[in-house]
Amino acid sequence: MQLEESIRVALSGLAEHKFRSFLTMLGIIFGVASVIAMLSIGEGAKRQAIAKYQDLGVNNIIVREKTMTDEELEEVRAKFSQGLSLNDAQVIKEIVPGVVRVASQAELNTDVKYADKSSKSSVIGITPDYIEMLNLKLGSGAFINQDQYDHDLKVCVLGAGVAKTLFKHKDPLGKMVKIDDQWFQVIGVLQSKTLFTETVGELASRDLNTDVYIPLSAYLNRFTQENVLASEIQQITIQVASSDKLLETAELVKGILQRHHFNNEDYSIVIPYELMKQEEKERQIYNFLLGAIAAISLLVGGIGIMNIMLATVMERTREIGIRRAIGARKSDIMGQFVSEAVAISITGGLIGVVLGVSLSLLISVFTDVNTFIRPYSVFIAFGFSVLVGISFGYLPAKNAANLKPIDSIRYE
């Protein structure tokens, strides 16, 4: 039989029993919708994680000063460790092969003021390399350059949050802000960053939008740490050429620091990329479970289709007999009923796609869960539903095709 006729017959079959067809479709609708929603939740979590680690730099090794009590600090200093220093950074850059950049940073939590407004900020002294390494994006103006660094210029780049608090809608570029008791000129404003809500290793969660960046040279010259035992800098970020060299480079860095710190463990080494891989593995198991649950509901939907198709074949035994008597082959009858099952699953699949996409949009709008729909997940869900239609329509269709024409035409 021609395909067009199969489709026509299938659709008229659906139209004849609208409510029954709809009930049959429900299983497929929910199955497809949940597959799409589940996959979009998994993908959303993945993207959020990737964004987080990109902020830390996937090719970076981060050496961070450990947070210590005063007693612990006194103890390590007594054991000759100076804490993290510019010298450590210099040595790493000179000795360790495969290192592209090394950036040192020192931090101070203080108020930044403009006119009558004030913002609690992390003031971070950095080297000009910093912007290349940490995925910072400028909203306006420029970042600190080598010349400004070399001359200890009192310039600063504001995080988006600080700029908004201090300047509202005014343009901050060129304005003077007061950091602690020093005046700095604003030369740039960063784009807004998503909130860094999770703690990664020794890196505590914080709002990157409240950062204020100044040249490390100016920082070291203008600000003095209250605690005399404090180390010179708080963090060294090391960028390596390729991510497969991260682990061995980290080992070398560790060896150097052990020697320089006289085996005092007053620092920690974080490799964002390695943490990301580990997290990815855990998430895969979770995603697999979500997907399996959704797939089971599609399977149940398929059984629903099979059930209704078996009933339909019974109901239309006589029609099958008539068609056979006027020349339909077994394969024609088979095609007709498989088409009908597929029509149910395609229609259900389409409704399911709409429902699934809306569901994941609603989830991301009304909850904290991030969702992201990749086109392939829609095709997978839809394709799977068509497959379910074919496989669960097969048995009833085969039953229909194997009915003896002579018996079925007399069936009442």
């Binding site: 008229s12 006589r318 008597a325 006027i326 082959r329």
Partner: protein, 237 residues
């Protein structure tokens, strides 16, 4: 010879009991014959019709249709045979209720793989031939019994089959409508079609030119219809 049946028997078991529906039948039907097969219910006439119509196969013996041994055909070839060579007309019409007349008539052509435009044209011609030009878009439920049977006849004739097999075609109609349908069969015969009627009514059988009686699975008598003396003499020659 269009149909040649040699030493044919058919038995089947019903609830474990062996039934001999047909016993060693020999029968020949030529092109453009108009044959009535008569017999009481359970005589085997329906079984004979099913075998002639390629809906069923004999247990033993031979059935040649146009010199083709039907027993040797597979399921697909039997379907093709029913599609192209056999036109069925049933007592209860057996139209598909969801389709209008023209689509019902088109159905055999769909299975024959005829393109849509040609299909439609041939179906409309067939409906015109049975006098139903006004009813092509009506569904069976909207037609009278006589009209439904006309649609069924149009469907049977649309693929220009070698033989028209009618099983009690007037059984579900009142006598006036039945008579009209019989006049239509007479006309189709005059146009050169081969017709086999299955009936238990003498009045209906009288339209045919040859009458075969079956009883208990055996051919009881096979004689020309005495009402048509000319043909009767021709046939005995």
């Amino acid at each position: 010879m269009l149909i040649e049946i040699k030493n044919m028997s058919k038995n089947y078991s019903m609830d474990g009991v062996e039934v001999d529906a047909l016993k060693n039948i020999n029968l020949q039907i030529d092109r453009n014959e108009y044959v009535a097969i008569m017999g009481p219910s359970g005589s085997g006439k329906s079984t004979l019709m099913n075998i002639i119509g390629c809906l069923d196969t004999p247990t033993t013996g031979q059935y040649l249709f146009n010199d083709v041994d039907v027993n040797s055909l597979d399921d697909n070839s039997l379907s093709a045979m029913r599609n192209k060579e056999i036109g069925f007309v049933f007592q209860n019409f057996n139209l598909l209720p969801r389709m209008n007349s023209v689509h019902n008539v088109e159905l055999p052509l769909i299975y024959a793989g005829i393109p849509k435009a040609e299909r439609r044209e041939r179906a409309l011609n067939a409906l015109e031939h049975v006098g139903l030009t006004e009813r092509v878009n009506h569904k069976p439920g909207e037609l009278s019994g006589g009209q439904r049977q006309r649609v069924a006849i149009a469907r049977a004739m649309v693929s220009k089959p070698g033989i028209l097999l009618a099983d009690e075609p007037t059984g579900a109609l009142d006598s006036k409508m039945g008579e009209e349908i019989m006049l239509l069969f007479n006309k189709l015969h005059e146009e050169g079609n081969t017709i086999i009627l299955i009936t238990h009514e003498q009045e209906i059988a009288n339209h045919a030119h040859r009458i075969i009686f079956i009883k208990d699975g055996l051919i009881y008598s096979d004689r020309p219809n005495s009402l048509f003396d000319n043909q009767a003499t021709e046939m005995t020659e």
